[in-house]
Subunit: 390 residues, 2 copies
């Protein structure tokens, strides 16, 4: 186990009706003027936004709004938000939505106090030294951004999809998590969120660090819980208990606890980011395609931890033929994804003829000669893995 620092100072307020605490929490964390960031669609249709606005009015917390954040959120909305915050003297950002909304809010939070282009942080030209405080009302369990210090933004002109990780500044001060708010999520979005959550766990789990029994068991346990609860939320969208378990698993999967002291991988995420940046598909659905391909490749090249995953998560009996165990696990995982309505090939993802060479070029242009840590993958290997996803 490597040395590490784990610091997760977000206040998670979880359960039925908790969105009614938004005024109290915004005030508690010192907001004097708020920017509410949201997407559109369900937040407006379900009148959640109206309720939050009324709640702030009730407490006399002034606010302005920025709507229309799209999935795979882009830089132009970030610039818009930064301008708005500066013009309106906003000192607190409230994200009402899922990962795209929260990640946009975080990008705005870094950009407001910075005397330059916020994109500098994403291309590692500058380091985030301060940020506005932010809070979250979560409506989509998936990205885990409600508990993480991460943000992923796509630059609209170059289609670069890049991330930053600044836990000490970008973890939300609070995250309101009411599972009831997820009842109206369409099944495909629910399922894509589940794949994203599982991927966040697996990116951490597949590592070569010695003596990680505690984090291994936490990861395996979470995955088992998700495999049990996922079919329930697909079948009964208003099953509170199942929705609650999925929502909470999404936070734990990505607040860092599943990977402390480990050399995390993240190759599948980086490979998927190119797919969703170029083809604008749902990130989680893209992961359901890429991760099994990555795992299939690993079965032939570095099978050890994939075999452990097979045995401990999928109850595949231990055997000397670890490759066979691993490939069985890939089949189980794919069947699981299919059972909740997700694609497991590029074709099923709606990309029958992907430009794989372009994906490989962009990937290594953005991420350097190698991606991943479980096995360091150069262009030759990432090409092979993309092909396994055809």
């Amino acid at each position: 186990m490597n040395n590490f620092t784990f610091y997760s100072p977000t206040e998670f307020v979880f359960g039925k009706g908790t969105e009614n605490q938004v005024n109290e929490l915004v005030t508690k964390y010192g907001a004097t003027k708020v920017l509410i960031v949201y997407g559109g669609g369900s937040v407006v249709r379900n009148a959640l936004l109206t309720r939050i606005e009324e709640s702030l009015n009730h407490q006399s917390v002034p606010y302005v709004t920025l709507g229309g954040i799209q999935p795979n959120p882009i830089d132009t909305k970030v610039y818009e938000g930064i301008d708005l915050c500066r013009h309106e003297n906003v000192d607190f950002i409230l994200a009402v939505g899922g990962g795209s909304v929260i990640d946009t809010a975080k990008a705005i939070a870094t950009g407001v106090p910075y005397n330059g282009d916020f994109w500098d942080f994403y291309i590692q030209k500058a380091v985030v030294k301060s940020a506005l405080n932010l809070g979250v009302v979560l409506t989509i369990p998936a990205a885990g951004s409600e508990g993480s210090g991460n943000s992923v933004i796509t630059k609209s002109d170059t289609l670069q999809k890049l991330s930053i990780r600044v836990p000490e500044l970008l973890r939300p001060r609070f995250a309101i998590m009411n599972p009831e708010l997820t009842y109206t999520l369409p099944p495909y979005q629910t399922a894509s969120g589940i794949a994203d959550i599982m991927a966040h766990i697996m990116e951490r789990y597949f590592n070569n660090t010695a003596e990680t029994e505690v984090t291994d068991r936490l990861c395996e346990g979470l995955l088992k819980a998700i495999i049990t609860e996922a079919p329930k939320v697909i079948k009964e969208p208003d099953n509170y208990g199942a929705r609650a378990n999925i929502m909470w698993s999404g936070m734990i999967a990505h607040n860092g606890i599943c990977g402390v002291g480990c050399d995390e991988d993240w190759a599948s995420h980086f490979m998927e980011h190119e797919v969703s940046a170029v083809y604008n598909v749902t990130h989680g659905a893209g992961l359901a395609v890429i991760f099994p391909a990555w795992m299939t490749w690993m079965a032939s090249h570095h099978v050890e931890k994939i075999a452990q995953f097979a045995h401990r998560v999928w109850d595949i009996p231990e055997s000397d033929n670890k490759k066979d165990m691993a490939l069985q696990a890939v089949t189980y995982l794919k069947n699981f994804f299919i059972s909740i309505g997700l694609p497991v090939t590029f074709e099923q993802l709606g990309i029958p003829d992907p430009d794989i060479n372009l994906l490989v070029e962009k990937l290594h242009q953005n991420k350097g000669e190698y991606v991943g840590a479980y096995v360091r993958l150069s262009k030759k290997e990432t090409l092979e893995i993309y092909k396994l996803a055809l």
Copy 2:
């Protein structure tokens, strides 16, 4: 799953050599004058205390010290600490040790700004409204106090052993956790710590709350990890990886994440507190005696979750005879405790003829007519459980 708030803002700094960051962390969290609280023994012998004092001197952070904290820490040391803090204008408490030292530090932290007897908080006569900041250098993985908002103190004249839980004020600002500092723990203390850690998980796990799959799987996974790592630390006291896993599991077991949204039990803890208060035995060793007795009783009265524990933690095959599954699990658990050198009966604990009636009387005097939540236990039942531990 019940509504809950989870807020764990402690900065955990984990790994080799991390005690060297103590000066930096104390300064980061605003200390201008520090009280160092410690026990004696190994902290002095290993020169850890000297290194910490030198480290603070180096940064010119003035400090005073309070040593001699004993296991099952008592109120008189708390009063001494409060007086010292007031006299010396201390604004930050640094606990260097295990649970007894940290719990004493927390009690002092509540008492300094309070215009009354700190014991008021423990007998629920008053509510903690402010407390000094505190930091921890952990030397014993057991109590989980490094990540919790809890403190347990014994009143020396009445032998009342009572606890408070004030997460918003009593979670340490930082906790330095270097597994190397635990190499010199005697095997019995190591094993007792392990039993305490497991008990913290099980007190949360044995609940009747519906739909707790995520927390169930986290608890089961942690227990499995501990069962794997424990024999290693007993056999090889300087096995870094195993020590690291045990140390980290002790924090996760008790920072609250294992019990969010659940009606936790805690009957075994309260029953044990009477044993260690009256007979001054090691808390964890007492739990190794009490918890299997509690579980044996439950096998006949409310078997459901004990049978799940049997199957998922101990790999006992599922069967219609759940009581049999549960009793098998009790045997496995006892054998595990015995294998790491712990007692599983009062006699083995060095109390061949315990005054069980006194324990029952004190228990219900301190905790009311009923203890526990998995099954609410009155005097009749707690008496039966104590007898099962003979």
